[in-house]
């Protein structure tokens, strides 16, 4: 069992959990993830490690309520515990000593996964230009943390309630048009956002790494549920990724595969939501 040291609601239906997992902190590196299975009936869910505190022996993760199991994660409380956390999984993000001008792009919930990468890049002395965005101001995550780990931070919201009105790709476009030399991009966010970034950077040959979060079960390469086509070859995101060269990823297939359980997820989410409401009324 893994003890919850802290839990906070960062934005509607988005939670931060700090959890005691000393063994995992000894090995975890930026870009890696863990798999949560909170109780006997829950699904196994991959979640990127957002922060590591080796002294305390804790990991921090952000969880967004998108289905039954994530809804139940959101209901956990400080002092409570989690049945299973497995990790660290996946290949750490490829970060060399010194890259130069690096643009870190985070969309919505993806900012949580981006943060440790930006932090590491800054530590290594890179010029980190971060662009983060969300649908609306109240959904923007980790602005303060990202500010600390970036040389400069730019923000966009879809509805214009904060920062520049529009998408993170609009800001990227401006940077490119201003003639800023970009040596590398790390983009993490919803698939349409990562795809838009790659469409923009591919003709310009700007190396763009993205982090995928497909459906997984075991996270160790055993089930093959997370397969993704990269450069015409089938890869398992859990052991070969989660990071890939975005210019080589088959996005069409990725989008389709993400929708496999859409109907089921709606059913189980509805049931879990009803149970949650009943509990609140009591």
């Amino acid at each position: 069992m893994f003890k919850i040291l802290e839990k906070k609601e960062l934005a509607p239906q988005t939670y931060m959990l700090r959890i005691k997992a000393p063994e995992i902190t000894k090995k975890a590196k930026p870009g890696q993830f863990v798999i949560f299975c909170i109780d006997e009936k829950a699904e196994r869910i991959p979640i990127t490690i957002a922060d590591i505190d080796k002294n305390e022996g804790s990991i921090t993760v952000l969880v967004q309520e998108v289905g039954a199991s994530t809804l139940r994660i959101g209901m956990l409380k400080k002092g409570g515990s989690i049945l299973s956390i497995v990790g660290p999984l996946g290949v750490p993000t490829h970060i060399e000593e010194k890259i130069g001008n690096v643009v870190c792009m985070g969309g919505g919930f993806g900012i949580a996964a981006l943060h440790p990468i930006a932090k590491k890049l800054k530590e290594l002395g890179n010029n980190v230009i971060s662009i983060i965005g969300a649908r609306s101001k109240n959904l923007l995550l980790m602005e303060k943390e990202m500010k600390e780990t970036s040389t400069s931070l730019k923000i966009s919201t879809d509805d214009g309630s904060y920062g520049q009105h529009g998408f993170v790709t609009d800001i990227l476009k401006n940077l490119i048009e201003e003639g800023i030399k970009i040596d590398r991009i790390y983009a993490i966010g919803p698939v349409p956002m990562m795809r838009a970034v790659c469409n923009m950077t591919k003709p310009l040959k700007i190396k763009t790494y993205i982090s995928l979060n497909p459906i997984m079960v075991d996270g160790t390469g055993m089930c093959g549920g997370c397969r993704v086509t990269v450069k015409g070859e089938t890869k398992f995101a859990c052991v070969d990724g989660p990071d890939f060269d975005g210019h080589e990823v088959d996005f069409d297939e990725l989008v389709k595969r993400q929708a496999v359980y859409k109907k089921d997820e709606e059913i189980s989410y509805k049931i879990a939501k009803e149970k949650q409401l009943m509990r609140k009324e009591r």
Binding site: S69, R72, D218, G221, M222, C223, G224, T234, R257
Partner: protein
């Protein structure tokens, strides 16, 4: 009726759930023998002076001895007799391919039906457990040696059980959140109830085996770290955790699974109880499972229980070459599984949203025997046909999971990624590290993994004692 006449009586039939009923539930198919039936069956054994069944068993259970005890009505003693050589009898009695091992050599089989050794093994183990007669055997006095066992499937459980009895301290590291490996994620409830797996694992725990779940060796800790810090020897029994897919167009369409994923969702995650359990599974109406082994049959029979109207097996050889257990083939037939023998998929066809709508196959004929001794299937040109399906499950075998070899480069592997060992001892190229089961052989059976575990545990014990002498 009339079975006590001059003619030698036939085998006692295993009572089982009616096929029409059982395809609507996940409960175990077989009920097991009653004491009366068990005694009757055991009495058929002629107690050969030089029994051939013993050597047929990969862990050398003293088969005539335990059958004799059942014939005398001493059921608990029979269970204990089996447990001298096999810590997991309730599991083996259910999933071993007896017809290829102990039963094939039974002399009664020459003119009639061989003794139902598997059914009797299961009976003795179930009787002991259900009547609360399980006793935890005394273990040898502590040797002070510590062994790490990686993985918790049949090979690992055997090693753990053997070594703990010899007085060594054993810790099992399991990657998933529940122990049991393939017994838990792979083999369905209707063939091997999970309560039985749990009982046999609890038995090991009571003997002193420690189990740490959520621990992926190679990620959380390396094999080197295990050896440096806490352990004197390491056994690797991580299984065949790498699914094979056919390299055909459409293999990544929605609705295409590896058997590993399909069965893990249903068995480990209990997706058949969705939405009571959170993990979903596609409940296909027309499901094609590719392959002819036990895993393929487990998958197609799961599909039928999940509500498929048509469950197909697509196998490139004929029924005779199917590696599955005879009983599973019989059960699958009773349950309405449709077999397409001598067929091989060439592509999977999808609709515009990326979902499977059909599978195209090519008919085959059998040519000359290949290296496995089975006749090689040869495609018949122009024989393509399509099966309308919405779900496809690949059960064409599994490879070795690469996590440990990748993170422990001094463990030598074959070109297929399996760990190379001395077959008699399970020793790897790395000192103090042993391996056995599917990580060495590639996908095989529970009992072969246990046999490898037995050899490795003897070698590990010797290694630890020799080390003491230094």
């Amino acid at each position: 009726m009339g079975d006590e006449k001059k003619k030698r009586p036939g085998r006692e039939k295993m009572p089982s759930q009616n096929p029409k009923k059982r395809i609507k539930n996940f409960n175990e198919v077989n009920f097991g023998y009653t004491p009366e039936k068990a005694i009757k069956e055991a009495k058929r054994c002629i107690q050969c002076k030089n029994p051939k069944c013993n050597p047929g068993c990969p862990v050398n259970i003293k088969i005539p001895d335990f059958i004799d005890l059942i014939a005398k009505g001493e059921f608990v003693a029979a269970a204990r007799k089996i447990k001298e050589d096999n810590a997991l009898p309730a599991i083996c009695g259910r999933v071993c391919p007896q017809e290829e091992q102990c039963e094939i050599v039974c002399v009664l089989g020459v003119k009639g039906e061989p003794i139902a050794i598997g059914h009797l093994e299961r009976f003795a183990a179930d009787y002991e457990r259900e009547k609360n007669h399980v006793e935890i055997p005394k273990v040898a006095k502590p040797t002070g040696k510590r062994v790490a066992v990686v993985g918790s499937g049949p090979a690992s459980l055997t090693v753990a059980g053997d070594l703990v009895q010899l007085g060594h301290e054993v810790t099992i590291f399991e990657g998933l959140h529940k122990p049991g490996g393939v017994l838990v994620y792979g083999i369905p409830e209707f063939r091997l109830p999970k309560a039985i797996v749990k009982a046999e694992i609890d038995y090991l725990k009571k003997m002193g085996v420690k189990i740490e779940c959520n621990s992926i060796i190679g990620k959380l800790k390396s094999v080197d770290e295990l050896l440096e810090n806490d352990f004197d020897a390491v056994f690797i029994g991580t299984g065949a955790g790498l699914p094979y897919f056919m390299e055909i167009p459409g293999k990544n369409l929605n609705g295409v699974y590896s058997a590993n994923e399909y069965l893990t969702r249903s068995n480990l995650m209990k997706a058949y109880l969705f939405p009571e359990y959170d993990t979903p599974i596609i409940r296909g109406k027309n499901v094609a499972v590719i392959g002819g082994g036990n895993t393929a049959l487990d998958a197609v029979r799961t599909a039928i229980r999940l509500g498929a109207d048509n469950g197909y097996i697509v196998y490139r050889r004929s029924k005779k070459e199917m590696p599955a257990r005879d009983e599973e083939i019989m059960h699958a037939e009773e349950e309405g599984v449709q077999f397409h023998f001598l067929c091989n998929p060439v592509r999977i066809i999808g609709n515009k949203d990326g979902w499977v709508k059909a599978i195209e196959c090519l008919r085959m004929e059998l040519g000359e025997p290949d290296e496995s001794g089975r006749r090689r299937p040869v495609p018949i040109e122009g024989s393509e046909f399509q099966l309308k399906v919405d779900t496809v499950v690949f059960a064409i075998g599994t490879g070795a999971n690469p996590i440990i070899p990748k993170t422990t480069p001094d463990i030598k592997t074959s070109k297929w990624g399996t760990i190379l060992v001395n077959e008699e001892t399970g020793e790897t190229s790395k000192r103090g590290v042993f391996a056995g089961g599917d990580i060495v052989t590639g996908g095989a059976t529970v009992i072969l993994a246990m046999g490898a575990g037995r050899k490795a545990s003897a070698a590990i014990d010797k290694y630890l004692r020799d080390e003491n002498k230094d």
